[in-house]
């Protein structure tokens, strides 16, 4: 078993266990910390796929900025001392059954898809994930969506300030 396989299975197990712990934690602060573990595992998968730019951006933007924002909001609300109101047990069972049915259906679809038979995702090689190549494409072919996203950010910033001010 090659070292990349070991890393792949370790990161997969880490992602799945952490994602389950996000759901099972009673305290929202622990949920945020487990979600950060999920994001680090996914960043590890990006590095394994040689998508280095996305790995760094995932770590900085998601684990660094967004999760800290969540933590700040939770601590502002002082939620961790009260117990969260729970849905009744039948709603939980119904939710788990619906999610399981969705998973089974999607896995069955993906298993039989003829486009994916004997295809492999390239590990550790390939240069399309490097910053140089991504930057060239981003600032030549995709420069208009890139500029539009700056307008989106401005409107989101103004919206957040206006909503949070009153």
């Amino acid at each position: 078993m090659a070292i990349t396989h070991i890393i792949f299975w370790f990161l997969t197990a880490l992602a799945l266990v952490s994602a389950l712990m996000v759901l099972l934690s009673k305290n929202p602060v622990y949920s945020v910390l487990w979600l950060i573990a999920v994001f680090f595992a996914i960043s590890g998968h990006y590095i394994l796929l040689n998508a280095q730019f996305l790995a760094i951006v995932n770590m900085i933007v998601y684990a660094g900025a967004i999760m800290v924002l969540f933590l700040f909001v939770i601590m502002l609300m002082n939620l961790d001392k009260e117990t969260e109101p729970q849905k009744d047990i039948w709603m939980k069972v119904a939710g788990v059954i619906s999610g399981g049915c969705l998973l089974i259906q999607l896995v069955r679809l993906a298993k039989d898809a003829p486009e994916m038979v004997n295809k492999t995702a390239l590990l550790k090689t390939g240069s399309i994930g490097l910053i140089e190549n991504l930057g060239k494409v981003l600032f030549s072919d995709y420069v208009v969506p890139f500029e539009i996203s700056s307008v989106l950010f401005l409107s989101a910033m103004v919206g957040a300030v206006v909503i949070g001010k009153k």
Binding site: V22, H45, L69, F70, F153
Partner: protein, 111 residues
């Protein structure tokens, strides 16, 4: 690594997010589960991008096929960051009005 493994991993993460949205009542946890679903999609996009790159690389060594998948992931992250800032502002405002983040208090439009 076969593409199926990545598909199963992403589908499992997505389904865990769906179950979280359906079973929890805390608005912040529901929001975090939506982030989890977005990340599962991102992982699948990167895996497919490398899959198409592997196919194209067999015939042409200087090809850049598949780079769009990673750019889409970048734009998804941009949109998710904007979404989180507005969504958390809405949750803070909801907490100020109802002193709770329980989504079952948000049924006032019903009456």
């Amino acid at each position: 690594m076969p593409i199926q493994y990545y598909i199963y991993l992403a589908l499992s993460l997505f389904s865990i997010g769906v179950v979280g949205v359906l079973t929890r009542r805390n608005a912040i946890i529901i929001f975090m589960c939506i982030e989890l679903m977005l990340n599962a999609t991102n992982l699948l996009l990167v895996a497919f991008s490398k899959m198409h790159h592997a196919v194209a690389l067999a015939s042409n060594t200087a090809t850049q096929v598949g780079i769009e998948g990673q750019l889409f992931v970048f734009f998804i992250m941009v949109v998710a960051a904007a979404e989180v800032s507005v969504g958390l502002a809405i949750i803070v405002m909801m907490y100020r009005n109802t002193h709770s983040v329980d989504i079952n208090f948000l049924n006032r439009l019903k009456n």
